[in-house]
Symmetry: C2
Subunit: 402 residues, 2 copies
Amino acid sequence: MLIVKKFGGSSVANRERIFNVARRCIEDYKAGHDVVVVLSAMGDTTDDLIDMARSINEHPPKREMDMLLSVGEQMSVAYMGMAMDALGVPAVSLNAFQVQMHTNSSYGAAKLKRIDTERIRNELEMHKIVIVTGFQGVNKFDDVTTLGRGGSDTTAVALAACLHADSCEIYTDVDGVYTADPRIVPNARKLSEISYSEMLEMATLGAKVLHNRSVEMANKYGVRLVVRSSLNTNEGTVVKEAARMEKMIVSGVASDKDVARISVMGVENEPGIAFKVFNSLAKKKINVDIILQSVGRDGTKDIAFTVARGDVEAAIDVIREDMKIFTAKGYEVEEGVAKVSVIGAGMTSHPGVAAKMFEALSGGGINIKMISTSEIRITVVVDEADADRAVRRIHDAFDLGD
Amino acid sequence: MLIVKKFGGSSVANRERIFNVARRCIEDYKAGHDVVVVLSAMGDTTDDLIDMARSINEHPPKREMDMLLSVGEQMSVAYMGMAMDALGVPAVSLNAFQVQMHTNSSYGAAKLKRIDTERIRNELEMHKIVIVTGFQGVNKFDDVTTLGRGGSDTTAVALAACLHADSCEIYTDVDGVYTADPRIVPNARKLSEISYSEMLEMATLGAKVLHNRSVEMANKYGVRLVVRSSLNTNEGTVVKEAARMEKMIVSGVASDKDVARISVMGVENEPGIAFKVFNSLAKKKINVDIILQSVGRDGTKDIAFTVARGDVEAAIDVIREDMKIFTAKGYEVEEGVAKVSVIGAGMTSHPGVAAKMFEALSGGGINIKMISTSEIRITVVVDEADADRAVRRIHDAFDLGD
């Protein structure tokens, strides 16, 4: 088997943890597998580099920033190569140049275009463990790029896809994907399997186990993902095509508290007005989530939507500026709200999921402010203060716990 | 003009010094010159990386060590790029991959083979300051190498040679090359010019301003070297072909206290014995310096030579092992000795230099233990306790001071 294993920054934060990771990789190697390891920068390395950079230049050129930040992963892979050598196993570290991990030139948020696999395959043939820098690439000018958010996960999945790996294991500080956040729902249960699309909804909706970018890529190329803990040898959760062993209707409950609701009120009931609002917001790269439109008695409309709290200020600027174009009479902002969602591929064929969810909420006296649905997800917006309780009630109602 | 400027690790050790270097480079840039800057790793970065590496693996694989250490210079050049941007000047940082700084595969002590200049020339044409990582290269496998001792100086001189630079400025913490170490000889005078061969003797003999490796390369390719201070704007010392303005006989006095004398005694007076001794030492990579051979009354020979103190133990191992082959009756080690040398291209045409030197020493009651001469150098071995006084007496005798 060829296994790609990815470890995050906290898993390689010091000497002991580096050896811990080295031993995990060597187990697979000694079992006869080809092993490719993808590493992030150690612990606080990246933050330290950013702090120094900002002390020199408040807005450092993005190209130079990527040149700087890429050293973090290079340190991790070199140390890992030394640790494996100390344990008597041949290993070789490779950076993005050496692999030739081609990206476009969006410094700080580059997209992978192509990965050359020849060097990695040659090293594997020489029976070495191959240790690759996550998060980074190289563009057509031979300049260093970084992939931005979820970068190392993406590197691992992309490598697994190009190498046709049998499995891509993402190591985190949790055992796998749970039916809900165990900190909120103590009896949350670890899922043995989840489909790509469910995982995507979970990722997008606040379960911070995997970045949706890596899940999307895994889905596209059919990479078998395994989410497991770097602290123990528990089985973890397999993310793969829909085919599931356990026929559960709902696979999990997720909540997201980084939400604000904005309402634009008294808009004339004409076609195209909503388009104008959302077009103006999109131009400022403000991501709008749940949208609700209602017509009042005077014939005007209220348009409400949710945004991440960090985007509230920019959104309000847009609305104030274009108030006349929107024919709006006013706007309202509510920051203390949260999204709570049930996710499950099974719900498409099982009516009554929404009813059961709303019953659980109303039974707890929790008021629903907005509702949004997709084929495998039902999301409600509630008061932030009610969010954790809502998650627990829904989790109980669908009998997801141990 | 095209100017290559090299700054060492202490010159870029913190934010303030980075900006200081940036401003020095920008002065030349604004005067209309093309500027290429070569940087070492910041302050203690390299030591910190080595410490961590050794904590993981007492004998880290050299390839991984180079992969690790090369991040130090990459951080320096990225920070410098940000500082220049903050000062409003276009700059670009390049590592050894981006330049394509080709070396052989001797990890930790790689030799430069070829430097591609296309990328640098393109960036200069776009009117940017080009900031290049010193000390590092890339081999034919695309693996990172480091150049070892004096690496960044060598990078700078090699770049100056390939780019046909008008000048290669090496910035240090002293004003230039002095007639003697100013800490030993308070009235030592800064030389405005020195020839390559004199500089080579000075470098080899303990004036730690320039590494002889970079001086040799400058000599070979006719690169005009300037040694100057990063702390002030004084003129510095120009190292170039022999043609000199001031016709001095002696240009400087150097001392080296990292010396031990080893004597192998009672060796049979047959041809080839000395060869056997030095051949055995060479095989263990022990560098032998001054050699003295004397024939005693009983017809046997004593062979004495100097080595660096760090090599004493290894040298004794060789001698003990091959005692019979050497036909030796015993050996002696004296660690408390030092080399004192006068250097000067002028002395070839001026007899009496040696006499004047010996007179200065004997006038001070300083005993000479060994003597060695070349065309532009006379070296004596004296007691270490006499070394500084010897330097001052010789400096005075040749009237080198201010």
